[in-house]
């Protein structure tokens, strides 16, 4: 036997320790499987280390400043001086460390073995992991889960140089505020970064070739996002090539598509057909009987909570449970000005599949709490199937929309109707009342707005 041929048995092998992989590992271990988790870099993946978590920390930091400024007219003293980005970065590092350690502790407590290194398939049931320089380990697995995530891709004409032109993750690490910042992109990542840096004091231009921001959201949402961005001083340029505008800016953030990390996996060695881009899985997240794929490598929105949901499903399937990815509404949350959130179907998408809808739209300008807080920009727009009255989509713009969407996702999953939402008492005065009011608009009996003339 050749020395390098020695291998370790692995009951369940998970490649990738991001939100998909570590959640799957914990659930599979809960279900009695013996799990080995391979991570090439840091547990928690993009989400925890350079995505969701640190970007929310930046957004909260910037929103605190914006909130105080909004209250200036009400008597709050004005902000003096620029935010201390070095202090912010220290805090950001500490947050990540706390959470990564937390994940590691959970995995350890669950008996999950973690191995650090790059991995690739060398056979249908065998994986090779590069655990050090010129040192590899082989694992023979029963079941394998591909959860290697995705990476930011550059935009045409705007290659990353890791200094001036960067991917979004790098922009979360700046220890300074760029004087002028160009953000290229139309998605939530671009919008969030543009809003955060504009609030902190950068002069921000947001440029996209698209005709609207957040083009895969409801058009009203796109309009609210654009109004909000302009209101905080962002120069929004639509239908323009970002590459042509990038020259003057001190820093450029490029948020284009995310590409699944599959190149180094040698999928062919495992007998898996090469994918054009993303892996195609069934409702059980299977590629074949013993190979699963979850998270950003699969077709769908590259969102951590979708990945985590998939991880739980596969963890249950690996435990022999009849689980399936059977979700009606994956919520989306955008931490911009105003906050934006959506779940379920848009009006247009419902009509495309032949579902007639009733729409209830309630403006925050009619909501006591919003007026009291000088935050009247925004709305709740709920889409109901006309025949059954059930909620099929919710599109929110305004303070705390990212939290309010949870109620709407639950309502969609439960099959709640406009009546259900309208008859549920919502605390006063809260932004959540806007949901109840929007349902009453759809039912044709709003209290705090006049019914639009039909």
């Amino acid at each position: 036997m050749v020395a390098g041929d020695q291998s370790d048995p692995a009951d369940v092998l998970i490649i990738g320790g991001g939100p998909a992989g570590y959640v799957c590992a914990l659930r599979a271990a809960q279900n009695g499987r013996s799990v080995t988790l391979i991570e090439r870099s840091r547990l928690g993946g993009v989400c925890l280390n350079e995505g969701c978590i640190p970007s929310k920390q930046l957004a909260a930091f910037a929103a605190a400043k914006a909130g105080a400024e909004r209250m200036a007219a009400a008597g709050m003293p004005a902000f003096a001086g620029a935010p201390d980005m070095i202090a912010f970065q220290k805090g950001r590092g500490a947050t990540i460390l706390t959470l990564v350690k937390g994940v590691a502790a959970l995995l350890e407590a669950a008996g999950v073995k973690t191995v650090t290194g790059n991995a690739w398939f060398v056979g249908r049931t065998r994986l090779c992991v590069e655990v050090g320089e010129e040192s590899v380990r082989y694992f023979d697995f029963k079941d394998v889960v591909i959860a290697t995530g995705s990476s930011a891709a550059p935009m045409e004409g705007l290659p990353f140089d890791d200094d001036r032109v960067v991917e979004p993750a790098r922009a979360l690490e700046w220890r300074f505020l760029p004087e002028t910042l160009l953000v290229a992109g139309d998605d939530y990542v671009a919008l969030e970064l543009a809003v955060a840096y504009a609030r902190l004091g950068s002069r921000v231009t947001l440029v996209t070739k698209s005709m609207r921001l957040l083009p895969d959201f409801d058009p009203d949402i796109s309009a609210a996002a654009q109004r909000g961005a302009k209101a905080i001083g962002i120069d929004v340029l639509l239908s323009e090539d970002p590459a042509a505008r990038a020259n003057g800016a001190e820093r450029v953030i490029v948020s284009a598509e995310r590409r699944p990390n599959l190149d180094h996996l040698q999928l062919a060695a495992a007998g898996i057909a090469p994918a054009a881009s993303h892996l195609i899985v069934d409702d059980h997240l299977r590629i074949n009987r013993h190979v699963f794929a979850i998270g950003d490598v699969t077709v769908g929105l590259p969102l951590a909570h979708r990945a985590m949901a998939q991880g739980r499903v596969v963890g249950d399937i690996l435990g022999g449970k009849p689980a399936a990815m059977d979700v009606h509404a994956v919520p989306r949350a955008v931490f911009a000005e105003p906050e934006i959130a959506a779940a379920g179907s848009t009006e247009a998408a419902a009509r495309d599949v032949g579902v007639e809808v009733d729409v209830g739209r309630f403006p925050l300008a009619a909501l006591g709490r919003a007026v009291a807080q000088s935050a009247t920009s925004g709305f709740a727009k709920l889409v109901f199937a006309r025949q059954s009255g059930i909620l099929i989509g919710a599109h929110l713009a305004g303070p705390r929309a990212t939290e309010l969407i949870a109620e709407m996702a639950l309502a969609i999953e439960m099959g709640a109707t406009a009546e259900d939402i309208a008859l549920t008492v919502h605390a006063h005065p809260t932004f959540a009342e806007s949901l109840m009011e929007a349902a009453e608009v759809a039912l044709g009996r709003p209290i705090h707005v006049r019914l639009p003339k039909r």
């Binding site: 499987r33 195609i280 069934d282 059977d326 979700v327």
Partner: protein
């Protein structure tokens, strides 16, 4: 090159779904027009679906063993051919579709049930589209699912523990058998009567007819006369050739007498149906029994030969079986089983004699058929088999 979504066509008699038995080509493979791409298991037959045009298979949207609804996408084909049935995939529409923006329309899915209820259905192996929701707007509750699943065979919960031993996915004929028999045991109050038939003349007649057939180079299946006996008996007792429409509170009396013949195959039980068994001449009946049972044994049954049964016979004797009870195949209301003919000591005219005896069990649905009706049918069968001259007419 344009992409085409190949959707599962209706492959017979309004079937709502079919199971992917086997992918015959892999993703990335080039296929010729009419080349078989996938083998589907329907009711109990398997059907190969040909490619609508030449091209490359880009995506398989279902895995082997998955049950796919009629009209849903099976695979995506990249093809230059003019394909009539397939609809081009509009890439932008797909990007914007509810699925890709992270949602499926519960409306469009046709099933309204909260997540916990959907989970329970998965655990019970129930398809929610078959569950009647009693909540507002047809909403399905936990109770609805439990009611639907009540009486279902309690599944051993080995799944919850760490899996040991090997597992074989329940599919095809076996899955169908599990579903039908569960439904039968759950919904039908079965009553069974046992009878012992003097089969001396019957056995002689079968032997004679077999020899005649052999001389002509054909076969005369033993079951032929049993099918005929059942068909004649059903004509006299039409209530056993009926169905119960519970929803409308009606008894459906069937015009045709279509007798299913339970047939063992390596995959499990299959019941091919001899249509209008009462109207066929004996020779034609023999040919038809031979045709449908042979096809079933080879797993090549046409879908139409597996549907439309109004009654079933089960010849357990063919496998040297004694006698047992049978489960009625809904929506049928009766089934008769025959055991092996064996010499027994019986009393005739006060003396113990040795006679060939065939045991028979008649099982009927007591919702529709009372004890007297069931017994009268059994007695008719007895007289037909003990005096088989009527069968050979």
């Amino acid at each position: 090159m344009p992409r085409y979504e190949f959707r599962l066509p209706d492959i017979g008699e309004g079937l709502a779904e079919a199971e992917v038995a086997k992918w015959l080509v892999a993703v990335g493979d080039r296929v010729a027009e009419d080349q078989a791409v996938v083998e589907m298991l329907t009711d109990k037959a398997s059907v190969e679906l040909p490619a609508p045009g030449a091209g490359v298979v880009l995506e398989q949207r279902a895995a082997e063993g998955d049950v796919v609804k009629t009209g849903s996408v099976l695979y995506v084909l990249e093809s230059d051919a003019q394909i009539g049935v397939a609809k081009p995939v509009d890439e932008t529409a797909r990007e914007q579709s509810p699925k890709t923006i992270g949602a499926t329309l519960p409306e469009a899915a046709g099933v309204l049930a909260p997540p916990a209820v959907r989970k329970l259905a998965r655990e019970l192996g129930l398809d929610l589209s078959g569950v009647k929701g009693t909540g507002p707007g047809g909403r399905i509750s936990t109770e609805d699912v439990q009611r639907h699943g009540a009486g279902a065979v309690a599944r051993p919960r080995v799944a919850a523990a760490a899996p040991g031993g090997s597992r074989v996915r329940l599919r095809g004929v076996q899955r169908r058998m599990a579903e039908t028999m569960t439904l039968s045991a759950r919904t039908i109050p079965h009553v069974t009567g046992f009878h012992e038939l003097d089969a001396g003349d019957f056995a002689q007649l079968v032997t004679k007819l077999r020899r005649t057939a052999q001389e002509r180079g054909s076969r005369f299946p033993f079951d032929t006369l049993l099918v005929r006996a059942a068909a004649l008996g059903l004509r006299q007792h039409p209530i056993l050739n009926a169905s119960l429409d519970e929803e409308r509170g009606e008894i459906v009396m069937h015009d045709d007498v279509n007798v299913g013949v339970a047939t063992a195959t390596t995959d499990g039980l299959i019941v091919p149906v001899v249509k209008k068994a009462d109207e066929l001449a004996l020779d034609d009946l023999a040919l038809e029994v031979e045709r449908v049972t042979a096809a079933a044994r080879e797993g090549k049954s046409a879908l139409t030969d597996l549907q439309g049964g109004t009654f079933t016979i089960s010849n357990i004797g063919a496998w040297r079986g004694g006698l047992g009870t049978s489960l009625i195949r809904p929506p049928e209301v009766a089934i008769v089983a025959f055991g092996k003919i064996e010499d027994r000591a019986v009393v005739r005219e006060g003396r113990v004699v040795v006679r060939p005896v065939m045991p028979m069990s008649v099982t009927f649905d007591h919702r529709l058929i009372d004890g007297e009706q069931g017994l009268k049918f059994a007695l008719t069968l007895r007289s037909l088999i003990e005096d088989p001259s009527q069968l050979a007419k």
